[in-house]
Every structure is written in C-alpha cells, then in structure tokens.
Amino acid sequence: MKPPPFDYVAAATLDEALEALADTSLEARPLAGGQSLVPMLNFRLAAPERLVDLNGIEELSRVEETEDGGLRLGAMIRHSALERDPRIAHRSPLLAEAAPFIAHPQIRSRGTVGGSVAHADPAAELPAVLLTLGARVRLTRRSRDGESGSRVERTLDLGDFFLGPFFSALEPDELLTAIEVPPSASGEGTAFDEVARRRGDYALAGVAARVRLDSRGVCDAAAISLVNGGSTPCLMREAAQALVGEEPTPEAIEAAAAACAETSEPAADMHATEAYRRHLIRVLTSRVLSHAADRART
C-alpha cells in the first residue's frame, strides 16, 4: 500500500497551481485534503504523474459573507470549519448540522469542501447538502493559448456540475476554487439526517431537505437531495414538488417521502440491499421533512 512514483508541486499561489495544471499532456491531480486521493494512490487505484498540492494557497482558505446574505467558501476550507465557524452556522445552519456526519474528526480536520465536491462521490454528505441549498461552484483555469487575461473563470449550478459517479464537469486544467451558497430565505427550515453502520461511516442512506412555508403555513418551495440515493449526487425534484402547495401535514410529508423513495435509484452493495436503502430513504425523508417544516414554522 505505497503509492507509485509521482511528481510533486507545492503551489504557493493560485497562479502557480493553475500553471502546474495547465500542461494537460501530463496527468496531474490537485491535492487538497487528500482524504480520498491518498488512499486511492496507496491502493494504486490512481496513478497521476503529478500532484499539485493546494495546501499552501492562502486565498483558497477564506470564508466570505457575501452582501446578499450568502456565503462564499474557499475550496480549501476544511470540513471542521463548517462545524465550528459561527459565520457559517449563522448563515447556513444546514452546513453546520450536516458537517458532524462527515467521516471522523481527524478526516474533517484535513478534508476540504472543494475536494469533497470535486470528488463527486454520491455517498458523500456535502454534495447532497450543497445541492439542497442551491449552491454554485466557481471553476478557474489558466488562460489557454489565444485567450485574453491570465485566468478564465466560470460558475456552474451544482446540479450541472455532477455528471456521474466520481465524474464532474471539471476540465483537466480547471480547479474548483470556491463554492457559493445563496442566502436562506425567511420562512425556511432545513434538516439533515442519515443512517450509517457506524458513526462516521459512509451512510447507508442520507437525506438533506429544505422547506419554505408562506405566511399561511403552505409550502411554497422545497428541495430534497440524497446521500447514496443514486449514481450521482442529485436533487429529488419530483418528491420536493409533491410538497409544494401543500401544508406539511404528516400525510403530505409521507407522500413526498414515498415519492422520494420511489424515484430514487439506490444501488445494492455489501452493506445494504436496494430495498433496504429505498426503505431508509423513505423513513429518513419523512423524518427530515418533518424536522425542516418544524423549523420553518418557528
């Protein structure tokens, strides 16, 4: 369990990192927290020729409170910051609520939000939570020949970013540099829950939900997304839509939860059959929607 040889670049600035990634004739991988990549290297499941270490880049580690009331999270923010930073908990309580479910404290101290999103693992908590929040990702690369300026940036809805299991819209020379989280609306409640074999394991299933109630207590917006509910991190639009226009009564919630389980596409593995996962998705969706609705009411 030793990695194959690789070339190592410790980037001190974003430009240095983009430079090191720009030569696409070489298979390069950015090294963020390394909590997924390093085990893959040690198992020799990945053998990049070059690792570009982002840990020295200060400008990627900032938490910014945006003027619209949202958050801009640098890609190198650690999961532990989601747990502990009061600015994050205040503006986006769902992130703070879900963060303790991400692996173990040691992993949360090293693992990064950008790394987790870029890894596009359908079993990870953060992609599901960010999808529920309607987050966007900022992707940056060095200008290619003939392009003006030194950098090129684009911003994508997270829903357009995830293309398949461990597969995203990220180009080989692009770096995920920031995550933009929109402000939470008034009358909105969020919740997260999961069932894992052991504390810190990948969840058998997990659910993140956001429910907004109007002044009459009727749901006028909802979002649900699943951990391990399909081959990619994805929003359960149909299920969420089932709740919109309804008061979140136990019956309405149960209907949405059933729709969520119905339209989910969980895979079977050694830890859970497809039927068990689907059952857990229904149970968890119901619990999480009730919770979110309760919070929206207060």
Partner: protein
Amino acid sequence: MSRAGGTWVGARVPRNEDARLLTGRAQFVEDVEPPGALHVAFVRSDLPAGRLRRLDVDSARAHPGVHAAFTAADLGPLLRPGAVLVPPPPLEGLVFHARTALPLVRDRIRHQGEALAMIVAESRYVAEDAAQLVEADIEPLDPVVDLGHALDDDAPRIHDDLPSNLAAHVRQTKGDYAAARARADLVLERRFSYDRGIGGAIENRAVVAEWDARADRLQVWDTTQAPIPVRNVVAAALGLSESQVRFVAPFVGGGFGPKIMFYAEEILIPWASIQLGRPVKWVEDRYENFFATTQERGQLHEAEIAVTREGRILGVRDIFIHDSGAYDPYGLTIPINTQCTLLGPYRVPNYESEFRVAFTNKPIVTPVRGAGRQHGVFVMERLLDLAARGLGLDPVEIRRRNVIGSDEFPYNHEIMYQDFAPLRYDSGSYEASLEEAVRLVGHETFARERERVQADGRVVGVGVVNYVEGTGIGPYEGARITVEPGGTVRLATGVGTQGQGHFTSFAQIVADAIGVKPSDVRVVTGDTSDFHWGTGTFASRGAVVAGNAIHAAALSVREKILKHAAEALEVDPDDLELADGGARVRGAPDLSVDLGALALAANPLRGAVEPGTEPGLEATSYFGPPYGTTANGTHALVVAVDPETAMVEILRYIVVHDCGTVINPTIVEGQIHGGVAAGIGNAFYEELVFDEFGGTSNASFMDYLLPTSTDVPPIETTHLETPSTLNPLGTKGVGEGGAIPVAAAFAQAVEDALADIAPGLEILDIPCSPGRLFELLRKLREASTQAGETA
C-alpha cells in the same frame, strides 16, 4: 472464598509498561530498522483458485533498486509444506486430512493472497513498483466459496489427492440422545449460521531478520505470539542450531490468535537475509492482512434440543460444518472448542455432536479470540431461548433450571476437550453469576416497569446469557527469576506479549512472594535469548500457566533469600519476613539485610559454592496443568432498536464473570472490555464478504466494520472469584470470555425489544447486521399479511 492473594495480587496496580507505551518509547517490530535493511513486498494471487502456468519475474529483477525477486523455483529445500501445529485429538473414528501450504506457490493456488513471489528492494515503495512488473499466467479454476456446498459430490476438488473437500470428521456423544428425544415434551430444531471474522489487530504482522555472518548468528524480530516454537521451526528449516537463532517478539500491537500461527514469511525473511547478506524487513500492510493472515469464519449448524415441560434439558443434538479455508495447519482446535463449549454451564445428560470440516478456496482459518467457543455458545443459548418461548418460560428461568450447581464440581461432561483431556470443569459460580447479572440489569422488574417504547420511537429489550470459557491449557510454561546485586528483580518467561499487561500482573506475583514492589520487577517476555522453553500466548493461558510457573520460581527464590538472610543475620529462617526489598527479623525490623546484598553474597568472588547448591538468588520453574481450568460468566445487556431503520444501540452492557483469582482488576477489566468490543463487532458489524468468484469484497477497514469507540458502550463489570483447583494461584484465563457470549445476548435482547412489533422473530444468523434484521422483519410482515389474508 479464599484466594492466593497478598499485598499485590488482587490490587489495582498501575501498569509497569504504560509509561513506555503511552509516550511512544515502546519498541515494536516496525521500529526496528537495522542499517542497510532491504524491504520486501510479496506478489500475491488475486484469484482464489487457479493453476500457475508461468511466472516471469525478469522485469521485476531488472527494476532499479531491486536486489532479488524470489519464486518457488529459488527456494530449494525450503519448498515443502508447512507444519501441522496441532495434531488431531485421539478420538475413535476421527478422520483428519492434514494439508498445509508451500512457502511460495509452485503450481496450485488455493486462496486469494497466496504468495507467488517475493521482491526484495531498497525500499517498500520500489518493491511494490517492481511487484507490479511480475507477470503471472494463471489458469483460473472454479472456486469453492459456499460452505454449504463445499462437501457436495460435484464440488471442485481443492486438494487433488483427496476424494473430496472433507478435511475432518469428528463425532462425540454422551448418553443416548435418541432415547432422550423420544421422551421429551418439546423438541426444537433450527439451523444456525455463525460467522466470525478477522483478528483485526492494530499492528499487522512484521518480520525483520539480520544474519550476522561473522558471529554466525541470526536475529529475528517478529510479531509472533509464540516466539520459541517459531524460533525452533525456523532454525530447523534453515539448518541452524537453535542456539544460533534469537527471536524477539517485542511489544506487539494485538495478537487475538492469528499471530500464534506459523507463517511462511517467518522463514522467507530470515532466509532472504542469509541469501543476500543484508538485514531484510517485511511489514504486512492492511490489505495483505485480509488474506495472508489467518482468520476465523463461518459454521453452519443443524441443532435440536429436547426438554421436559418444566424446561429441563434432556439432550442436545448438533451437526455442523466448519470452514477451514484452503489448508488446516491448526488442526481441529476451533470445531472441538465449538463442540465442547456448546454444553456451557448446563447439565446436558445426552449429547450427540458431529462435525465436518471443509476445505474452501478462502484464506486459512485458525483461532481468533474465542476460537469457535462463541459459535457453540450461540447455538446453545438460542436453543434455550426458543425452548423457553415454546414453553412459556422466562429466558432466565430456563437457565436457572439447568445450570450446574456449586456442589457439583468437579463436573465431568464426558467428552474430550481441545487439550485432549476430558471436558471437566474444576470449579465455577454458575448460579451466582446468573443471579448477580439478573439483579444488576433489573431483569425481574424490567418487563413490568420499562417504557417499552421510548420517546424517540425506539423499543428496548434485555438479554441475559451464560458462557463458560475453557482456559489455561498445557502443555507448560516456565519462568526464571533472578535477584540482581543492585536489588533489581529480573523475571524472564517465554510467552510473548501483545498488550495483556504481563509486565505488571507477572510482576505482582513476584512482588508478593519476595517482598518487593511490582515496579521493582523487570519483566522480559518473548526473547528466546532470555528464556527458551515454552509454547506461547494463546488459549487464555498466560496468567494460568506462565503465572503459576512464575509463582513457583518466586517461591524457590524466596527460599534461597531466606536461607542466605538467615545465615547473614544469624537467625532462624522462620523468624524472617520479606518486605521492602529486604529480609528482616519479625519484631525487630532493624535487624535486616537488603536483597541486593544477599544477591552479592550468593555469588561470591572468593570461597567455594557448596556442593548441591547454585550461585546467585535465581530459580527456574515450570508449570503444566493436568487439564484446562474453566472460567465462567453471565452477560446482560439492554438494547434500543429503531424498528423503522433496524438500527440497534446498546444502552447498557453488564458483565459478571469469574476467572478465579484476579491478579489485577484493572487488567482483567481491560481484557473484558476488549473482548466485549470484539463480541459486539462479531454480533453486529464484522463480516468477511466473498464474491461468487471467491474474492474478498471488503478487504479494508472502510468496508470491514470493526466497532469503534463510539459503538462500544461503557461496560459494567463485576468480578466473582472462585479459585481454580488446578493451580496454586487459583487463576483462570479471561482473554476470550468477554467476546464469547455477546452475539447470543444481543440476539436475545433484540428479539425481546421487538417482541410486540415482530412476535415470532428469530435471530439465527450472526452477524445480525441491520440489513439482515430488516430482511427478517420484512419477511415476518409478509408472512403475517399472508396469514391475515387467508384467515
């Protein structure tokens, strides 16, 4: 109840070894890095069954930094099957086919992870790079994966020279089960499956060897639990005198059984050091550990119990298949343990037990903490639970009516145990431990008073089960105790240490005998240059067998001290007491002499040592018990089950146990806590998953689920002390007891919790993962729906 205790035996003495362990100064094999050491990586088969047609290591040999790439063709006389470590017991009609592996595969691959080639290079990194260059042309063969079909007539043959995959067949009986069954009021038959798993030591195996050509000596550091037998095997294999080979098992990060085994790497690494004239180091990685280190796995039981209307056991019949993996180097220890331990603390007048051991294309099975005992306990305790349910009895009540009474010892079960002696219980406290556990968990009032459904929607249940643990078997261990002129006491014994606290509990025994503090005793374990007779640390025998050898040696040294002190002080030895590191006259403490001065006087530079005496204050003693001593206990637990998610949480865990004389309660509790954690893993989390091609699907700690600190509840421990009658200290082993009954207790508690929601639920398969529990509940619901429709 009396015990052999004194000032120190029985006391919560802080551990002598902890300062070194907790500050990172303890030496483990991984820490040994002789200058110029080369590093080894093995090329292992990904396939579980195949024929090796061609193996090309030329590219690996040519890779920069590689010193050697060895295959079976290079091994010469070393290429012969390994030893059978434990022969089969002398039972009438017993069938046993011994088959052991070659150090490197020559032609036939019988399990995933068998080693094909050994790469020796400048670093482990380079060795692994080169290992990827080895080309192996393997013809895949149909693997035998499913234990239930391993003995079928048309199953692929794993060892071509055998008529089937049957490795062994053993039948033991007592009384007349058929007659007992005929007069029973209730007979219950069930099929059980019980899976165990890996040892899961934090430190994997490691071997470092350094051949010193000038001194003509070989030194080996090894993570073994049995340094002396391994030294002897390696010396013989390499054609060296035992005196030329020193094995050191330093601190070892957990044993749990698999490190008792003798492994090919223990010969190959020293051999490579001799071949290359360089120190050679191999540290097993976690992935290799899942194939290259032995493990325990499944048994399939078809069992029945015959009882009277009052719940008295008339007889038990159990037919089972045991999975041995590809070879059977450790004989029949595990299934014999299962067969014997099933009887537990109960009177079973008629018993019919028969097992078959099957070869499969899976890694080798040898004892892991519990070593088959938990399989037997699970079957028996479940049969009792189901019988109680069938008779409308409380599960505790049926146990009360069948446990062996305190006036019935020694109790003879009339079958043969793993040490080839009759299965006899020397002493025990079966009624007392059951009643104490029942009292502590509040079982009598539990059903009435508890809130069955908690505020969060979970339901709670309780489980109470018994077990016995056969411990402290022979053949023998030894110890040498020396008082040095500086007053330090040195204790050397042959058993290896893997975290059991030997440096403290052994020191406590010595301290009481010769009047010193445990911290004054320097304990050396597992170094063949310090002590070279003994077998090893296994079968919960350290405190029993080594402990009593130490006790005997300490008493001999005590006699020598008293003799020399009596001469020095010109008093009668009977007037002396040993305390505070010296001898003094009772009632006149000013008349004293310290141990260091006596040690000096006992080893004079002038003057003759009298004929018939020996120099120094030193003694060596050995202890071998006539047969194993039997520990016992009762576990009780309370669980909360979420009926919607099938997740189970253990709210309380109570252990009442009896390991005879307790040397150090803290250390004993540590053994219990670790054992219970292993048992919880076994009951709920751990399972080796094999795909249809025989490959292990979960060879990492990401998917093989060991319980972690957040999954193991606080454990409430009560010690009962019924001394063993088979040794002077009165000790019994405790290393495995914590692990043995957990799954049985867990199953009973989960059924109890779900009694209202899912009446008729029967947990017959372990591990009872949430997925499996979900399936059971789903099937029950379907069955009751169908029943409702037809009604």
